[in-house]
């Protein structure tokens, strides 16, 4: 956990009182909506179909039990008793009243949570690996650097009015769980030949109307130079990024239009001017940040405790354990993924009661810590393996033990037309229907790892381009239609999916997906070949033939 100090707390409180004043001026007519819109967006407040939506940041996906309880409190007190975890380590509340927002923000500020820059044309929540600090094989905890960046990007005096939104993601593990290649800046922590820690810097990834995989502009930037290098990128973008067309304003378009070499050169020239300036991070500053992250003191525990041996006779427990429990760096401990994808439920939603109950379980079994991942699931990062059976039972009773992590029903979906003012089509009911079709665990297990991502419009909040199967809602003559892509992925081998055929109407989507999955089962070389690998090996054509032959 990262402990806020007086400085952090002061800033958050000052931000809350500023926003309280801004809301007051809006409600008294001193500010027009045109003037206020950007101010509310910079505090995470959107206007959606039914109400205001409030997006709260969970920096690098780390939450304390106290913070999770406070999120539950906000859901109950100011909203309708639930929240929605997003693909960017945020939580959204769908029914907030503008007049009550300052109070909600003040309640969150008490536990060190804020909504600064969760929207608007500024630097958004800095995201990272939800297993940071606990997964075996990590270079070092990437959250130290995420926090360095969180502070640097918060209320930046030069970069708060960028051409468009700007997103960072960091990973420090060979397996990328943070989807860094679809971010404006993706940072891969690694060590150079001298054993020094630094970053491969990738720029210009992003989905939306014009999807791009990020390109590397520098294979190694030393940790001490991280901020100056980032400032150089942001300055080039702020100065030259397009502002004439909202769809061409992201940095990916600038990188594309200039060419990656030219862009990298511009950044290099700017960086040389500032790299030895005040942004250079000395060891003491980094250590100061590092020292405010606390880690549990793990006990020496056996890898195979009696409790686990006994519970292994229960097939339901075993099914869950094999699916949701992952290796931990400390012997005798495990990382437990909490699926927020129950059969028939909206992906990523959690009720206030579930949040409270999970906070209690985190206190009991995970040193009071919870993680949030971009797949819209949660995790308990430090569970003693001997506690797994008890934890499983407790999760079962609150509906959080669905054993479908990474399986076909572990669907990423945006809120879609049910909530969102940008959407063209619904996402959630499509996801719900698919979870029902693939509710049988044995079938889902037979299919193996398969990520379905659904977006209700081209803005791609559901990351459809990088789903193994991607579903994009469009509108045709007032009807909901869905384009389907296959072969996308968001990890270290990130790739954009390819369209499999013409868009299909709402009622046909689940059938088409079932056909695609059946085609895969028939086409795969062996049961270990994942869906996405079969598509890679064979291309889209054999899938298209099988799925569209009878349509």
């Amino acid at each position: 956990m990262y402990a806020y100090d007086e400085i952090d707390r002061t800033l958050i409180n000052e931000r809350v009182s500023e926003f309280r004043d801004q809301v007051k001026r809006r409600l008294s007519g001193e500010l027009t909506e045109d003037e206020f819109k950007m101010l509310r967006l910079q505090n995470g407040v959107y206007l959606q179909l039914h109400a205001y939506m409030f997006r709260v940041a969970i920096p690098y996906g780390t939450l304390s039990s106290k913070q999770l309880r406070r999120l539950a409190h906000v859901a109950r007190r100011y909203d309708r008793g639930y929240g929605h975890f997003t693909t960017r380590q945020n939580i959204q509340f769908n029914w907030i009243k503008l007049a009550e927002l300052p109070d909600a923000l003040a309640d969150l500020a008490e536990v060190g949570i804020h909504a600064m820059q969760t929207s608007g044309n500024n630097t958004r929540n800095v995201t990272s690996d939800q297993w940071a600090g606990v997964v075996p094989g990590e270079i070092e905890d990437p959250r130290i650097w995420s926090e360095v960046l969180r502070q640097y990007t918060t209320l930046h005096p030069e970069f708060s009015f960028l051409p468009r939104k700007f997103k960072f993601a960091i990973t420090a593990h060979p397996h990328d769980r943070a989807a860094i290649k679809i971010h404006d800046i993706g940072l891969r922590l690694h060590k150079n030949e001298q054993g020094e820690t630094g970053f491969e810097v990738m720029v210009g990834g992003g989905l939306g109307r014009t999807p791009f995989i990020a390109k590397t502009i520098r294979p190694f930037v030393h940790g001490r130079d991280l901020l100056s290098y980032v400032e150089a990128i942001m300055r080039v973008y702020n100065s030259y990024g397009r502002r004439d067309n909202i769809y061409k304003a992201r940095i990916k378009i600038l990188v594309h239009e200039l060419g990656v070499e030219k862009f990298a050169q511009e950044v290099e020239e700017e960086w040389q001017q500032i790299r030895d300036g005040s942004l250079r991070l000395d060891d003491e500053t980094i250590e100061d940040i590092r020292s405010r992250f606390s880690y549990p003191t793990y006990e020496k525990l056996p890898h195979m405790p009696d409790e686990l041996r006994k519970a292994a006779h229960d097939p339901l427990f075993e099914r869950w354990r094999r699916n949701a429990v992952f290796p931990h760096k400390a012997t005798g401990y495990a990382i437990v993924t909490i699926s927020l994808k129950p059969v028939g439920g909206p992906p990523g939603d959690a009720t206030a009661d579930q949040m409270d109950a999970l906070a209690d379980l985190a206190d009991k079994y995970s040193f009071g810590e919870i993680r949030v991942g971009h797949e819209q699931n949660l995790a308990l990062p430090h569970v003693a393996r001997r506690d797994l059976p008890a934890l499983w039972k407790a999760l079962e009773t609150i509906g959080l033990a669905t054993p479908n992590v990474n399986l076909v029903s572990d669907i990423i979906a945006c809120p879609g037309l049910d909530y969102c003012s940008l959407a063209n089509a619904r996402s959630i009911p499509i996801a719900q229907e698919l979870t029902r079709r693939f509710a049988n665990h044995d079938t889902a297990n037979l299919i193996g790892r398969l990520h379905i991502n659904i977006s209700g419009c081209i803005n791609a909040c559901g990351h459809h381009h990088v789903g193994h199967i991607g579903i994009l809602g469009v509108e045709k003559n007032g009807e909901e239609f869905y384009q389907i892509t296959i072969g996308g992925r968001a990890d270290e081998k990130a790739e954009l999916g390819v369209l499999i055929g013409p868009a299909v109407p709402y009622n046909d989507v689940a059938d088409v997906i079932e056909d695609i999955v059946e085609a895969y089962l028939a086409l795969r070389a062996n049961p270990d070949e994942l869906f996405v690998d079969t598509v890679k090996r064979l291309g889209v054509e054999p899938f298209r033939e099988r799925v569209y032959a009878t349509r």
């Binding site: 000052e14 044309n121 918060t154 005096p157 030069e158 970069f159 300055r235 702020n238 005040s278 100061d288």
Partner: protein, 171 residues
């Protein structure tokens, strides 16, 4: 539009001269970038103050030969959402050591005062009278800043280290 300078609403000593108008015999003048660049010496040989309005899509490097002789550079916010002038301001102050008046013009609203101050602006052509009057209150809103800029305010990382050192020194 009220001008806020030195923390107070003030009369503007500069007269904005249109591109096709003759330069007055005396008095501080403010001219467009186009007029200025057409013949910088003609403008700069005046005995009184000269300011230039610099658009936000033109590199400030073009001004570098003149920064010591310009009394005022006015940067432009065509919309409060367009943040290019923040970069221009920081470059002028921190890289090219412009010491004259750096004025924010265009859609200048109170909710951007702090950002502007931190980027190096010290004068504001404020769009609304109420915002100009609220200047002193507004700029006191924040006492904590995470980033170092050229404005001299102590950024949080340094303040933390200072605090640590004073603690460990038993102060």
């Amino acid at each position: 539009m009220p001008l806020v300078k030195g923390g107070k609403i003030q009369a503007d000593e500069y007269v904005h001269i249109a591109d096709d108008a003759a330069l007055p015999e005396s008095g501080a003048v403010l001219v467009s970038a186009a007029r200025f660049l057409a013949d910088p010496e003609l403008v700069l040989q005046r005995r009184e103050k000269v300011g230039v309005i610099w658009p936000n899509n033109r590199d400030v490097e073009d001004l570098v030969p003149y920064v010591e002789r310009l009394a005022l550079i006015a940067l432009v916010f065509p919309s409060f959402r367009d943040g290019r002038a923040y970069s221009q301001a920081r470059l002028l102050r921190e890289r090219y050591f412009f010491r004259g008046e750096l004025r924010a013009t265009g859609q200048v609203l109170r909710d951007q005062f702090v950002f502007m101050l931190r980027a190096g602006f010290d004068a504001f052509d404020v769009k609304k009278q109420a915002d100009a009057e609220a200047y002193t209150q507004t700029v006191k809103r924040y006492s904590v800043f995470y980033q170092p800029t050229g404005d001299g305010r102590v950024a949080a990382p340094f303040r933390r280290l200072q605090l640590r050192h004073s603690e460990s020194a038993g102060l």
